[in-house]
Homo-oligomer: 207 residues x 4
């Protein structure tokens, strides 16, 4: 009964040597995801790429899913750093400037290891333990909603929960799609154009 969730790491790497092994495994997983795709990312191949025996791999991660989950976590931590840092600057700004900044952040975030981002977005079966991707977005909703609350008097009357949903979903979709599927839209100065447009979309919606 109560089988432990197969996505959590198996043991903490205490000694320095094992720390290196764990790092190598995650790094190898990410590299293979990017280079060969999710389907080709077998545990054997990951172990080989990490220069580690398959036995060691299973000493630290109980499954391929756990490894991928670790890569996702690492990626999300990276994103969060970008986003949170930038969002702090936004706190005091008026809506127009704030939204503009946020759109820029979103684009930056999507450009942080975009190949990995694409694989995670497009090849991961949102199944089993890998469904936990939503966690990340929930946090963004919360942060954005908090900002809206601090500026409520500049907004029209609206359910802030719903407004946050509309804004975050739209900005994320626009930047995601643009970065991953419409490189034409982002080439050179058209970046500015996209930022303008997305900002206009959101700002006029909120006011």
């Amino acid at each position: 009964m109560a089988r432990r969730p197969l996505t959590n790491p198996r043991k903490q790497a205490s000694q320095e040597r094992s720390r290196a092994t764990v790092d190598a495994l995650i790094e190898a997983t990410a590299r293979i995801l990017v280079r060969d795709g999710f389907d080709k990312a077998s545990t054997n191949r990951i172990a080989e790429q990490a220069g580690v025996s398959i036995g060691s791999l299973y000493q630290y991660y109980p499954s391929k899913e756990a490894l991928v989950a670790a890569v996702i976590d690492r990626h999300n931590r990276g994103l969060m750093q970008v986003v949170q840092g930038a969002l702090a600057e936004v706190a005091g700004l008026p809506i127009e400037k704030a939204v503009r900044k946020m759109v820029a952040i979103a684009i930056d975030a999507h450009r942080l290891d975009p190949k990995l981002h694409r694989v995670l977005a497009e090849q991961l079966p949102r199944t089993g333990r890998l469904a936990k991707l939503e966690t990340f977005n929930r946090e963004i909703y919360a942060l954005f909603k908090a900002y809206l609350e601090s500026r409520r008097d500049e907004l029209r009357t609206v359910d802030l929960e719903l407004a946050a949903f509309v804004c975050v979903t739209s900005i994320e979709a626009l930047t995601h799609t643009a970065v991953l599927h419409r490189p034409d839209i982002l080439s050179g100065e058209t970046v500015a154009t996209l930022v303008d447009e997305a900002t206009r979309l959101v700002v006029r919606y909120l006011r």
Copy 2:
């Protein structure tokens, strides 16, 4: 290795019996995708569910991918019917009404066999021949852009290509996310609210 990736049906099912076989195969694939997920959808299982021998399956479809692609096509054809029909009604309408209608259509479209929609959206590796999902959206962009052109004098000055991208992407993201991940937003009369909000978002952006 390096087996040729075949995605197209092998032969047109000209005779009636063949037609029935093909239908049974696609139907079985869809049913299994929904019931058991992409991972569990083995060709042997599909053949069994279709009441057809595995040999026959390969007589009509050269690979599992081809089968899934056929399901996608069928689903997209269904979507297109809903969308195109409804979009025709939109042609003559002023922007506000047109957009409102389009949002409603998008929601309806996502509600057409939503379980299958979800599987296609979340479990399919967007890899190999299965990457062709974009095709569908391209057509929608084109239709929407055509509408915008017909109403250009009611719009602010803007690159219509870009505007279409912004509008279609946003509407699709909002309706998709709401239908698949935020059932709370769509329960009962809040549907109307979502339609209002999405309409406002797009209309004010365009003007």
Copy 3:
């Protein structure tokens, strides 16, 4: 839920070709059990010995256990044939002769493929689905008890169920141990001695 018991064959071999495959698998399993022991009887090795691909093996048996169970069944069917046939002759005999005959049968039975018998008796983990070995003995108890009932008036007053347990268990233990572990006791004419002794043991107990 209700996962099918992993010891039953997977599908009936309908065509002649598959019948041959199934036979080869069981034969190979028995041979390897005898030659290399239970631990070395891996599915790969069995398939190889059977001249069949590992895939085919799993088409008919879902596990190593299922294969071993099939061997046990076949062995037990063989034993039953020996035992039942001989037991029929015993029906009308008086106790002394009947018991003597039964002891002889028991020895014969243990000598039917004794190497396989030994492996089944000594190397099988009586665990999981392989615990079903008892079935066989139950039938023997019943047959013996039926005989005792038919001769009740020649016996002292005794719970026949219990008496059957005592007699069958003793005869089985003596013949089993002698055949498998004490070849000295069975060499040449000492067989007769063992039969004498076992007969005396049981007959005097019953009267």
Copy 4:
């Protein structure tokens, strides 16, 4: 391949700490055998349960088999204590009383840690160094034969070696089977019945 099969402890645990480690290892092995069965008893798990590093385990026992053999030895030593002590009392008794006592002893012996006894009897592959289980019985034979010799004048003429085989094998089989597989036979006062029957079986055989 061809690794040397080592079954003897590696060194005498002379110092106190070592002694504690060895004890912990054997205790852990026994506990895991009982709780999880032979298959699940991996050396890593045993080491963990013993609160000892896997390296230390191999410092004291060169293989998993050696560990299990140690458990068997400990169990057998326990049995021997029960049996020998009781058998001493038997020395001077007449046959009827002596046999009755021995049967009772046999039942007691099987009830000494019956769960472990069952695992040892049913899950251990009687293979490699683990085949040495017979040792124990040999000693019992010898003790019993010695008793018979001391009472030869009360017995019919018979090969005492053979008679010992018949008696010991029967008693052991009856008590073993009753304790492990026929709890019904041993519930409450039926114990007495079984003792009566087994005694009758052996006594009448010997006279």
